[in-house]
């Protein structure tokens, strides 16, 4: 199978402190890949490393080309959309302005217009509130907005940082159903980092387990669901 994104010996630093210790992983094209890990494992750091937002070592390849060391805007331009931790809502801008920022690096006005309609179709609540300041949306609505904003790039790869954070279980299911739909109908490859292992393993095809900056286990999601140690520490049954 073809990997859309591949990392080898990936390291990441905050100042002098090294947080990722030589990771190797691959994100298969058209699939959903999840990286599970506890608080502080390095999940957010992993996504920031891919997006070029922090200093890295090692190699990252996207569609066969090196992207490590490039500026965030160049990586976004390649079609990698990053839905940041904590939603990253621009609270003083309207919902529509938030969505337009998702398409910030795009120049095709008519395409952006079409994609606005497309995400409004996925998230009708955003259409209703398109002229409201995004700061007044509920937490769940803001997560929808963050996801929709990511889609506005018309991405090839969607990076999702703990979308389940602070959402009720039904809402997590709803959100993941939408992610699955996007993945299947739009052909968007997804890399998800999560703590909610139950929901995430349900959604994903492939899974990695990250502990203090190193990958300790990987395999098809269905297999990891059956893995005893994962069941004990992450699934709780």
């Amino acid at each position: 199978m073809a990997a859309l994104l591949e990392a080898s010996n990936l390291e990441a630093y905050y100042g002098w402190s090294k947080v990722l210790h030589g990771l190797r992983f691959a994100v298969e094209k058209d699939k959903v890949t999840v990286v599970l890990g506890a608080n502080g494992a390095g999940k957010t750091t992993l996504l920031r490393a891919i997006s070029g937002m922090i200093r890295t070592g090692g190699e990252i390849r996207f569609a066969g080309e090196r992207i490590d060391g490039q500026a965030p805007e160049d990586i976004v331009r390649r079609g990698i959309a990053h839905v940041p931790e904590g939603r990253g809502t621009f609270i003083n801008l309207t919902v529509e302005e938030n969505l337009r920022l998702g398409a910030y690096v795009r120049k095709d006005k008519t395409g952006i217009r079409e994609d606005l309609d497309r995400v409004f179709h996925f998230f009708p609540v955003l259409k209703e509130k398109s002229r409201n300041p995004a700061g007044v949306l509920s937490g769940g609505e803001q997560q929808m907005l963050a996801l929709a904003r990511g889609l506005m790039l018309r991405p090839r790869l969607l990076l999702l940082d703990e979308p389940s954070l602070g959402l009720a279980p039904v809402l997590v299911m709803e959100l993941f159903r939408i992610v699955r739909a996007i993945n299947e109908s739009e052909g968007v490859t997804v890399l998800l980092v999560e703590q909610d292992a139950v929901a995430a393993l349900e959604l994903a095809h492939q899974a990695y387990l990250l502990e203090t900056g190193s990958i300790v286990t990987s395999g098809p999601a269905a297999e990891l669901r059956e893995n005893d140690s994962i069941r004990r520490s992450y699934l709780g049954y």
Partner: protein
């Protein structure tokens, strides 16, 4: 916005007929300050960066104009443009290293600029005339128009203000404006969208400096004199006061702020010759207390409330109220910028 602009322009162009020549000069100053504050509002209100040093850019604009028109006999129109361009470049270059600082640290770095300005001006006295300053000629009235030189300056300043208001409006409404505001709201997320935050911050600093520099150019022409002590740190602080009182996260706020810093000190003088600044301070506190989002913020709140009550009288489309509320909420940011939770 368009309506407000038409109103300002309309009233502004008709006003001189009713004004004494001193009042004409005062309103000219209001417009000039408004241009300066517009620059500060773009920086503080929309981009979330502080400056306690914009007096320096005002000085650059003023001296560029003074030197160009008196020493080199360059027409004042070109001098104004050159003043804006030079301020833009200096602001951008200052922005590149300074913007590594955030919040209070940036405020202090810019304050250093304000503190240094008068002395730097005195030091380069072959150019600036040192403490003596430079006396300028007032621009002569073109085309034989039947108005006084002061009235001409009034119209010139008003016209520049209107043009720069429109420019700010268009800049902030489009793609660049969204990026500028996104950086203020959430710099990390803005970067994740592909916004080059460092470049935008420097550019915004440059544009902001350009506005204030153009104001300085007009100020030099209006007063027909520049001298170092006019550009003390106090000027920078005054700009910040005007910006906040008018409403930092607004375009129209610049006009209210300009009026505040022009008129309130004069009235304070009239009330108490002994302690005008105490009166000024008191007025300032009352303003902040009554209008925590500035004059512009208050006006918006009232407008939004009116729209809402009108909408509830005749069950109007929901979108109208939503839009009014959006407009209102959109500007609550002045407080966020100042670090006060709403």
């Amino acid at each position: 916005m368009r309506l407000g602009l038409l109103l300002v322009a309309g009233v502004g162009y008709l006003l001189p007929a009713a004004l004494s020549s001193y009042q004409t000069f005062e309103f000219t100053q209001v417009f000039i300050y408004a241009v300066a504050l517009l620059g500060l509002n773009i920086l503080i209100g929309y981009n979330g960066q502080f400056s306690l040093g914009h007096g320096a850019f005002y000085a650059i604009g003023a001296y560029t104009t003074a030197i160009m028109t008196t020493r080199w006999d360059i027409p004042y129109g070109w001098a104004i443009i050159a003043a804006g361009a030079l301020s833009l470049v200096v602001g951008f270059l200052f922005g590149l290293p300074a913007l590594r600082f955030e919040g209070l640290y940036l405020a202090l770095a810019t304050f250093a600029l304000a503190l240094a300005t008068p002395q730097v001006l005195k030091y380069f006295d072959t150019w600036t005339g040192g403490s003596q300053g430079i006396v300028l000629d007032k621009p002569s009235v073109p085309l034989g128009l039947p108005i006084s030189a002061d009235q001409y300056l009034y119209y010139l300043s008003l016209t520049v203000l209107v043009i720069l208001l429109l420019l700010a409006h268009n800049l902030l409404r489009g793609r660049a404006g969204r990026a500028i505001t996104a950086i203020r709201d959430n710099p990390i997320a803005a970067e994740a969208m592909g916004v080059n935050a460092a470049l935008y911050k420097s550019l915004t600093f440059g544009v902001s400096a350009m506005y204030t520099g153009i104001a300085g150019a007009l100020g030099a022409l209006a007063v027909a004199f520049v001298a170092p002590d006019t550009f003390s740190a106090f000027l920078s602080i005054n700009f910040l006061v005007g910006s906040v009182v008018g409403g930092v996260a607004s375009i129209s706020g610049a006009i209210f702020g300009g009026a505040f810093i022009e008129f309130v000190p004069t009235y304070a003088q009239e009330i108490s010759r002994a302690a005008p600044w105490a009166i000024f301070g008191l007025t300032l506190i009352i303003f902040m207390y009554v209008m925590p989002t500035g004059v512009a913020g208050l006006i918006r709140r009232v407008a939004a409330a009116l729209a809402r009550s009108m909408a509830s009288e005749q069950p109007a489309p929901d979108s109208q109220t939503a839009a009014a509320e959006a407009a209102e909420g959109n500007r609550g940011s002045a407080r966020a910028v100042l670090g006060k939770p709403d």
